[in-house]
Structure formats: structure tokens, C-alpha cells
Symmetry: C2
Subunit: 156 residues, 2 copies
DNA sequence: AAATAGGGTTGCGTTATGAAACCAAATCAA
DNA sequence: TTGATTTGGTTTCATAACGCAACCCTATTT
């Protein structure tokens, strides 16, 4: 009946998706990372329905991904700002962006490249690394959650 | 009316979410990374409704995240296997898992730790790195998609 | 031939989403 | 001081998605 939630799942991915796993939440976080803070700006940038935006902002605040701050300006009374928790979604968002750019490139534009503010050089692809910083593929990692002895990476 | 899709969005995150941004798709990919390949096993492990599972598997195959392989075994005629595209969601899934473990730890169990299969040592936290491999926070990265000059990382 | 298992599809009721209308507080303009 | 604007919502309602159970078809065992 009700959409399944994963609050009590023993899988941390499921618990994470419970907070930012719907269509809009992660896009709101992304937009916040781009600097958007105000309700109307989220609405304009994302083209999201107002009621859905209210719901998602409220839920993100509730889950402490955003904080709602009263700034007493003209008709701009609140700002939604990333918390540390929200800010730490940065690798998730960037990994997703890189994946999207790699496998579903926009037909008419170059992928946006992110650069180190200090050096101006492009950032590296986000990847899983071992303790020494060497990149690891899925084949080289033990996945304790695995339910079979099969190689999860095989495709033939 | 219709749920919004982002096929033609100029944002690669939105395009990525279009393929794996719903409640179930990324969990199916995760389960596939754990080694699950068969329809019934996905259903058992995830507790997902059969019609939804059909829809999601079909969509993931359509988007070339999984391939459907006919293996002529007893009552186990198909396997769904990760493609290269699907396998490259590894950093996304791991980053999300680490975020979930850090900010929403399961009350009754230790976070599953992933280890380098070769050395047996735990993997590093997934993070965004500069060209030299040094970790970068959001404050140290230029975000060309930014719509304002505000510091997106500020929380006060 | 009958039972079983895998892999679905179909109905049906509940929930979520999207668009537009409406509402209320605070500010700005006249 | 009155009225128009802006921000940040809530309400209403139609449509789409989800969850569950029941059913179906094929292939394989027994």
C-alpha cells in the first residue's frame, strides 16, 4: 500500500536513499551546492511544483541535510542552507555527475568541468581507492553484503 | 500531470537521476554488485513488488545498466548482469553507503567495512580529489553551474 | 500426467506528483 | 494609509506510480 521506506533497513545505502533517494531531493541538494538558498530560486531553477518543493525542503531540514534560517529581508525571509551532513553529499553528487557525463553526455554541449579553485586544474574522477590511494574497481573489493560467491562484476 | 523526467536536461546529474534516481533502481544496482543476478533473488533480497521489479529491470536493461542474458537452466532462464556502465556506478553507491554509515548509522550494528581484496585493508572514504589526488571540499572547487556568487558551503 | 519453479502480467486500491488557485505576512510605492 | 508586490506557503483535484495479491505461461522435474 504505502510506498516502502527504509528507515530501519540494515543497509546504509537504503537508509541514505530514504533521505535523498527520491526524484527531487538530490537535485535540491545539488542546487544548494550551486549556491541557491531561497525558496523561489529553487522553484525557478528546478521547475518543481511548489507543494513538492515545500515537502522536500521540510524533509531535508528534518533530516538535517539543510537548515532553515530566518533572514529578515524584504519578502525573502528564509534561507535554506547546507549543513555539514548535506555538504558531505558532495562526493555522491560529483560521482553521479561524472557518471552522467560519461554515459549520457548531453548532445549539444560539453560536460561541465569542475576545477580546483586554487590551481584551476580539472578535478579527478571520483573513484573508490584503497588505503594507499590507489583506485579500486568493484572486482578488487570485498563486498561483505554479497549473497553469493559469484563475481559481481562478470558480464559474460 | 506526468512525473517529470529529465531526459533532455542540460544537467548531467538530472540525466543520471533519470535512469537510477528512483527508489528502487539504485538498490537493484547495489544488489547486482553484491552478486544477485536472478529475478527471484532480487525479489527476495529487496522485498520489491514483482511488477515494479519487472519495470525497473526492464528500464535498467533499456538504459544499458544491466544486460538480460538467457541461461538455459531449470526454471532460471535469465540473468541480469551489470554492464560496464552499471559497474561504473560503483563510486556513487560506495559514496552513498559511506554517507549513510556516517550520518545515519544503524543503531544495532557496525557499518559494513569494505576491504581491498588484495591487501585486506579497508578502503578510503570516497572523496573528490584534485589532479594530484589531494582531497577537495566543496569550498575548494569551482562549480560552473552556480547561479550566484555566494559561497555554497556557508552555513552561517 | 502432475507438481514445481522462474518470470512475468493484470486488477485494484492507495499514495505521490504536478498544475493551478488561493492565502497570509511583510515590504514597497504612492 | 491604502494598495500592489514579493515570498513562502496550503488547498484542490486530476493523473501517474506503487504495493499487493491473484493469475498466467513456459520449462523442468518426478
Amino acid at each position: 500500500m504505502a510506498r516502502k521506506r527504509f528507515d530501519d533497513s540494515n543497509c546504509s545505502v537504503a537508509r541514505a536513499l530514504n533521505e535523498v533517494g527520491d526524484w527531487w531531493s538530490l537535485l535540491i541538494v545539488l542546487q544548494a551546492m550551486y549556491g541557491t538558498r531561497r525558496y523561489v530560486d529553487f522553484q525557478k531553477e528546478l521547475g518543481i511544483a511548489k507543494n513538492i518543493l515545500c515537502d522536500r525542503l521540510g524533509r531535508l531540514v528534518e533530516n538535517q541535510v539543510l537548515t532553515k534560517v530566518d533572514v529578515g529581508e524584504h519578502g525573502c525571509r528564509f534561507e535554506y542552507r547546507l549543513t555539514d551532513k548535506g555538504r558531505e553529499l558532495f562526493p555522491v553528487v560529483i560521482a553521479l555527475r561524472q557518471w552522467g557525463d560519461r554515459w549520457n553526455p548531453a548532445p549539444d554541449q560539453a560536460p561541465l568541468d569542475l576545477r580546483d579553485r586554487a590551481s584551476g586544474r580539472p578535478i579527478s574522477p571520483v573513484c573508490v581507492r584503497d588505503a594507499d590511494g590507489q583506485p579500486l574497481t568493484i572486482r578488487e573489493v570485498c563486498l561483505p553484503g554479497a549473497t553469493s560467491a559469484d563475481d559481481p562484476a562478470a558480464d559474460s
